[in-house]
């Protein structure tokens, strides 16, 4: 096995190992690794910064949203108040008009009733006078003499009273 037979190469192997490993260690330690860690740190910083900015924007958006919601709630309340007021006003107006109409209708109805009553009374009076005249004429035809107007009136009045 060359690993155990070539003992005379041990020194050369170790020397070159120390040399290459040493150079590699120094280069990585001093130059390469700090560069990589700096890249990673920069990225981490950037990510943290972006996250912070995002959080700030989110907070800002939330305050804006809260303000909007407050304004919307105020507007909604105002609208409801206006609606309520209008409804009340309209209702009052309608009630008033309704009352006026009712009163006028009642008045007109009363006037109409009075007119009907007058007409009826007139008619009744006319009926009585016609009946008296008819009774007079009938008596004259039957008896041949002119009937007494007063007696006819009294008779008609009595009959009408009896018949309602």
């Amino acid at each position: 096995m060359p690993q155990l037979e070539q003992i005379d190469t041990y020194l050369s192997q170790v020397v070159w190992l120390v040399l290459t490993f040493g150079i590699l260690y120094l280069v990585l330690w001093r130059s390469a690794l700090p560069r990589i860690s700096q890249i990673l740190a920069t990225r981490q910083e950037r990510i943290d910064g972006d996250l912070r900015k995002a959080a700030e924007l989110k907070a800002e958006a939330e305050t804006v949203l809260a303000a909007y919601e407050e304004a919307a709630a105020g507007a909604r309340a105002e609208a409801q108040a206006i609606l309520r007021d209008s409804a009340e006003r309209f209702a009052a107006e309608a009630a008033e008009r309704n009352e006026a109409l009712t009163a006028r209708l009642a008045e007109e109805a009363a006037a109409g009733e009075a007119r009907i009553e007058a007409a009826r009374e007139q008619a009744m009076a006319d009926v009585e006078s016609i009946a008296v005249e008819l009774a007079g004429l009938a008596a004259e035809r039957l008896t041949g003499t002119a009937a007494d107007r007063a007696a006819a009136e009294a008779a008609v009045g009595q009959v009408m009273k009896e018949r309602g």
């Binding site: 096995m1 060359p2 192997q13 070159w16 590699l24 890249i39 920069t42």
Partner: protein, 245 residues
């Protein structure tokens, strides 16, 4: 090396000198192992540097891979050690990437797996072991030796348990290095052995070929897994040194 040995399953682990370098008596030649280490070093640096060259806020595919590997090891340390493990991140990350690229580069045919050599894995494990032990003594002073006393055990059992604890502590670099070395050695040897059956069996060679294809997939998983295991055990040892029990 004999020519028969040249095509053996173990010849792939042979160290070949590419550029002889001598420092006095010492032989520190540039070998195929050194070449793969340098390639791994260059590839890791290119992977990391080019991946993040644009520093995009929204990463592309490449940058995502770099960030993924970074956060993978960060997460590993956070889970095993906690917040104070952050200081050891560059070391664990380097260790993970180095072992991972060493293992992965070894999966390329005709390349060389430097993590398949016990001396390399042992050197890495020794660095971890020595480093963690020093860390423990620096952090806790002499109090660190209480790490070898199992908590909640009667004093009568101490003479038995303390040697066991010390032996298990001392065997850490061995188990850490042998685990990686043996996995790489066994996997690559097995691949080579079965690959050798393909031409030998003629038409029936389709069977070992299918096996080699499947095994290559498994070896890729193991290449990653062993790098992960090396890194997580290092994290656990750091945690022991920082927090004792």
């Amino acid at each position: 090396m004999a020519s028969a040995d040249h095509h053996g399953p173990l010849s792939q682990f042979e160290i070949k000198t590419l550029l002889p370098i001598r420092l006095g008596e010492a032989d520190i030649s540039f070998t195929n192992s050194s070449l793969m280490m340098v390639i791994a070093l260059v590839l890791i640096m290119l992977f990391l540097m080019l991946g993040v060259r644009r520093k995009a806020l929204v990463p592309g595919r490449w940058q995502s891979m770099v960030e993924l590997s970074y956060e993978f090891i960060v997460g590993l340390l956070r889970e095993t050690v906690g917040a104070d493990g952050r200081r050891y991140f560059p070391f664990v990350f380097t260790l993970f990437m180095f072992v991972l690229f060493g293992n992965m580069l070894g999966m390329i045919p005709y390349s060389f797996t430097f993590t398949s050599h016990i001396v390399v894995t042992f050197a890495l494990a020794a660095v971890v072991f020595v480093g963690v032990t020093i860390l423990g003594f620096v952090k806790h002073g002499f109090h660190f030796v209480t790490f070898f006393v199992p908590p909640g055990v009667s004093v009568a059992l101490w003479p038995l348990l303390i040697p066991i604890e010390i032996i298990s502590y001392l065997s850490r670099p061995i188990s850490l290095s042998v685990r990686l070395f043996a996995n790489m050695l066994a996997g690559h040897t097995l691949l080579k052995v079965f690959a050798g059956f393909v031409p030998a069996l003629g038409a029936a060679g389709i069977l070992p070929l299918a096996f080699v294809a499947a095994l290559s997939g498994l070896e890729l998983v193991i290449a990653f897994l062993q790098a992960y295991v090396f890194a997580i055990l290092t994290c656990l040892y750091i945690n022991d040194a920082l927090h004792l029990h």
